[in-house]
Amino acid sequence: MKHSNAISKPPEVAERQELIRFSDVSKQFGAFTAVTDVNLQVARGEIITLVGPSGCGKSTLLNMTAGLFAPSMGDVTYAGKPVEGVNVRTGYMTQSDHLLPWRSVADNIAIPLEIAGHGRKKIRERVEGLMELVGLSNFASAYPSRLSGGMRKRTALARLLAYDPETLLLDEPFAALDAQMRLNMQYELLQISRKLGKTVLFVTHDLDEAVSLGDRIAVFSKSPGTIIRLVTSPLGADRNLLRIRHDPAYASLCAELWDLIVPSNKQEAMA
């Protein structure tokens, strides 16, 4: 694991190294246009949240970053090179956690390490460290069917971190959790991403989640999706998610972005 000593990093993007770039990206599936004219640069170590109505193509951008398919127009580059084929420098986590039901928590976390061909001892040490990181040390031998939703998510997160991808592609990973558990997971995600210096693309349709997690927030229009607003968070890199609701800047940003999203909903309702 590449540990970084700095717990928090400055959110200024300009002087930081660019990792992912979308240039004039459009994607069509047959006659359906999922996203159109997306331009976005993501810096190393940055957390970007993509928020917008469902079906606006946010997930499409993650899929292209992971190299699951190519854009119809424009380019997606990763670390300066166009993404071609499966991009193994990224790790994916979706709303469904995709744990293997026949493997215990520890064995689930060990999968990527087994694939990488590490030795038994190294795998065990690494898995123990990760279980501690996500607070699951007491559940090493439990099968996923015995775990609560939050514990399953933490297992999936630990598995994601096990192979140490530099970029985490998170597609509404906490959508199915209750509010408290979600806050908990958001808190842990932020801590861990900062600690390990991860770059994160986080898709959500929850505005509060987008504002609290993102260093920058990209607001999408409804389908065909494009970025209608890109906001740099005023909350600071070392924001405390547990206290964030008392911050007037948080409230005003939420309200501002809310107004951006609501008219498009209204249009939809009238159409």
Partner: protein, 280 residues
């Protein structure tokens, strides 16, 4: 986050009311025994009084025949032959079915190419192949094994194929992102996740394996439970027929047990799932 081991066990413990589990099981078993005894009693009484004994024999006579076979070694001899045929055919057909199911499940092109042929062969009643196998292999044990294997093959093949097909594509993609090669995906995802389908296929196959072995013996044989059955019938020995049937049932129960034990050993997470309190 302070979660302890108690959280899980506590949840399960709270959900389960103090149900006297053993008492309930005992009650059911007693009920079953009573039912069986009543059935045998009525049979014994009705035979010769309401129905001609020639047609239905009597439980007491059947037990006498079974007892005699048991001590003379007849039962062990014939049952072991049928068991060998059924088990060998079961393992052979099951094994080939699993391998073919996995290969075709993982390669869409091949599956599409072979589909009409497989379906044609599938819709053929496999028992109809018996005369062909007699021509090819004679009336020895290999003919019965082949017939059994042909029957079991399709059941296991189709189940394995469906199981392999139903592996979540998203999951496979996530594995690819972890750097997994086809070999990893096969060993770590596809085969374990298809396993419950495979076992469903194996379980369904147990009675069919016996059909293969016994039909084979009925067609042409001088040994095995099927032979015992047909030779008893040929001598109008009704008690012998029923005794042979009872032996077949016992053999089927043993084979079922074998598959069940295999499943517990191969898929321990299933046991955990079934033992768990049901929640939604």
């Amino acid at each position: 986050m302070s979660v302890t081991g108690n959280a899980v066990t506590g949840k399960v413990g709270a959900a389960s009311a103090p149900v006297p589990l053993i008492g309930r099981k005992l009650k059911i078993n007693i009920g079953r025994l009573v039912l069986l005894a009543a059935f045998l009693g009525i049979w014994e009484f009705a035979s010769g009084r309401l129905v001609a004994e020639f047609f239905v024999s009597k439980p007491s006579k059947i037990f006498a025949v079974l007892n005699e076979w048991l001590w003379s070694g007849t039962l062990a001899f014939h049952a072991s032959i049928t068991a060998t045929e059924a088990l060998t055919g079961f393992i052979l057909g099951g094994f080939i079915g699993m391998i073919m199911g996995t290969i075709l499940g993982r390669s869409q092109g091949l599956a599409e190419l072979l589909e009409p042929f497989i379906m044609a062969f599938y819709s053929l009643p496999k028992v109809a192949l018996a005369p062909l196998f007699v021509m090819w292999l004679g009336i020895g044990i290999s003919m019965k094994i082949t017939l059994t294997a042909a029957i079991v093959f399709f059941l296991v093949f189709l189940n394995t194929y469906t199981g392999v097909r139903s592996v979540s594509k998203e999951l496979v993609t996530i594995m690819h992102l972890m750097g997994a090669k086809e070999r990893h995906i096969l060993l770590k995802v596809v085969i374990p996740s298809a396993l419950s389908w495979v076992f469903a296929g194996l379980k369904v196959s147990v009675p069919y394996a016996l059909i293969g072995a016994i039909v084979g013996e009925l067609i042409a044989s001088n040994r095995g439970l099927g032979y015992l059955l047909s030779s008893s019938a040929g001598q109008f020995d009704t008690a012998g027929v029923f005794a042979a049937l009872a032996a077949v049932i016992a053999l089927a129960a043993l084979l079922n047990l074998f598959v069940k034990l295999l499943e517990v050993k191969m898929a321990p997470w299933k046991t955990v799932e079934t033992q768990q309190e049901f929640t939604i």
